[in-house]
Each structure stands twice: as structure tokens, then as C-alpha cells.
Symmetry: C2
Subunit: 179 residues, 2 copies
């Protein structure tokens, strides 16, 4: 992985992996399919990556990082919800993987699972912080509820592309605990 051709090959493989995950999900991104799309043979793939999981993990890691809002600046709930909606709508493939990993037991890489779980945890914490500064009771519990509900909306959106994710997310935001 030091000559320029090698780095270019690596990039093409990652690009192909990203596309295939988006189009066909995790299961559809086989090494064979990735290699075909990248215009590369299996040997080259394994010259660049230790395993299929390494390539998949790299792609997902990049996606997660790209989506994560800056940690330092506090945000209100509305913009956190908007960010979530934007994530699902702009990176449908990754959103699908996110949910696929959560739901499917015994998914390939435990590391992938751990990484996504941490991402989820951070999201809950952000929501909790936003709710706390809005003086809501039980901010952590409500944050868990909201993030879980948003995941549910995302699931719905994945199975029905006409589903009004943004609208329903706003509706969720308008719900208040009845006293």
C-alpha cells in the first residue's frame, strides 16, 4: 500500500463497497461484486485489505464520522432531529446497515456492532443534554425514547420511500409529556 497505483486501487475498492452497500445492503456487497465493480481481481482486494470486514468497516467508519455533529457545540433537540433525518435521507444505505446490524443477531463483525452501538450511545447523550437544557423531566429516559422512536421512523422510511420521515419526526418533536 505504498505505490500510487495501490492507493488508487484501494480507493476504487472502497468506492465500490460504498455503492454496493447502498444499493444492495450488507449481504449484497460480496467480495466478487466489489471486485467486479472496482475493476480488480480478488488477489488485489486482499493485497489492500486483510478481509472483507476490514473494507466494510472502513466504509462504515467514514460514514459515521461524516455524519457525527461537532462534539463541542451544544445543540437543541430540533436540530438534532433534523440531523438524524438528514442522515437517513442522504445516506440511505448506511442507515440500512445501521439498522441491519442492530437487528440481525450474530452479524459478522463484533467490532462493527460495537462501533455502531457507541455511535448510538453518543446520540442518546446528545439528545439527553439538549432535553436537559430545555428543562424536561427525566431527560435521559426521554432521550432514549426519542432516539428509539426515530430509529423506528427510519425503519418505516426504508420500507416505504414515500413515508414522510421529516414530517413525522417533526410531529414526534411536538409531542409533550401530559401532566
Amino acid at each position: 500500500m505504498r505505490y500510487r497505483v495501490g492507493l488508487e486501487t484501494r480507493d476504487r475498492i472502497l468506492e465500490a463497497t460504498r455503492e454496493l452497500i447502498g444499493e444492495r445492503g450488507l449481504a449484497g456487497a460480496t467480495v466478487k461484486a466489489i471486485c467486479e465493480r472496482a475493476g480488480v481481481l480478488a488477489g488485489s482486494f486482499y493485497n489492500q485489505f486483510e478481509s472483507k470486514d476490514e473494507a466494510v468497516l472502513t466504509v462504515i467508519g467514514e460514514s459515521i464520522r461524516a455524519v457525527e455533529p461537532p462534539a463541542d457545540r451544544a445543540q437543541d433537540i430540533a436540530s438534532l432531529v433534523d440531523a438524524y433525518v438528514a442522515f437517513v435521507e442522504s445516506q440511505e444505505g448506511m442507515a440500512r446497515v445501521y439498522l441491519e446490524v442492530v437487528v440481525t443477531r450474530g452479524i459478522q463483525s463484533g467490532e462493527l456492532r460495537g462501533r455502531l452501538m457507541r455511535h448510538h450511545q453518543r446520540r442518546v447523550e446528545r439528545f439527553a443534554a439538549a432535553l436537559a437544557s430545555a428543562d424536561v423531566r427525566d431527560p435521559v429516559e426521554l432521550a432514549e425514547l426519542m432516539v428509539a422512536a426515530l430509529n423506528g421512523l427510519a425503519v418505516h422510511r426504508l420500507l416505504d420511500p414515500r413515508f414522510d420521515l421529516r414530517g413525522q419526526a417533526r410531529r414526534l418533536l411536538d409531542l409533550r409529556p401530559a401532566d
Copy 2:
């Protein structure tokens, strides 16, 4: 499939399929694993079922039917939510399949997908009816939101068994649109 031994074999196969789906998810319920657990060889399996999908579909169909509340009697939202929680908690394996099918693209049987989708649809309709008779604005939209949110809570519960599904579902129930 007419002698008693055959029917018993069939039952053992279905039982094994049910258990394996619950323990390892759809992907873990391979024909080999099912046959081992049922104490049967592959040939017997295919003497009873046309395909693996037929066995899986049978098991899931039975589960869905067992969970479906009686259609004639109208119910309020609280008991619908309770029924959903009970479904997820008592039939974790089936709940997992339900979500797995929704999330995973290109899942095996299109029929399985269709069947689960119809089940989902009926649930939304029930919720909408209950909300309508409670004089809520936009009952259909709110029903979609609630069912989607419940699905999200179920996802959370699947990945963290300590998650307080019942409590969070009640909390969801307490949320009201702010005017």
C-alpha cells in the same frame, strides 16, 4: 404426509425451526441445524416441506396468527400498546424476524415480506381506529407515528434486553400533541 410418524416428524421440524429462529435469527436457522435439532436427516425434511422457506413461512404464519388480536372487537390504544409489548416480550424471536425482514433488502422470500407487511398494515389500522374514537386529530398519521416508534422501541429492546420496553411504551402513550 399421511402416516402418523410423518406428522410427528413434521411437528418436530417446525418446533426446531421455531427454536432456532428465536435463538439465532433467520440466518441461523439453516436446514442442517434444523435437521440436527429435530433428529432428522435432510431427506426427511424435504419429504415434509418443499423448501426451507415453506417451513420458515409456516412457523412465522402461526406466530402472527397467535398474536393477532380478535378483529371484531374495538380496543383502546393502551391495550393495543400492551399487546404489542407482550408480542415482543413473549415472542422475541419472531419480533426479531419481523424487523429483520423489514430492514434487510432482498430478503429471501417475497411472500414472507408481503405477509409481514400486511400484518404491519393491520396494526396501523387498529391504532388509527382507536385514536379516531379518542377524538385525536389526524388519527392515521399519529397511528403511523406510534407504530413506527414502537418498532423502534422493540429494536432497542432486542439489542439491550435490560431496556424497559413496557415503561417506555407507556411513556410514549403519555405523549400528547402540543397545541
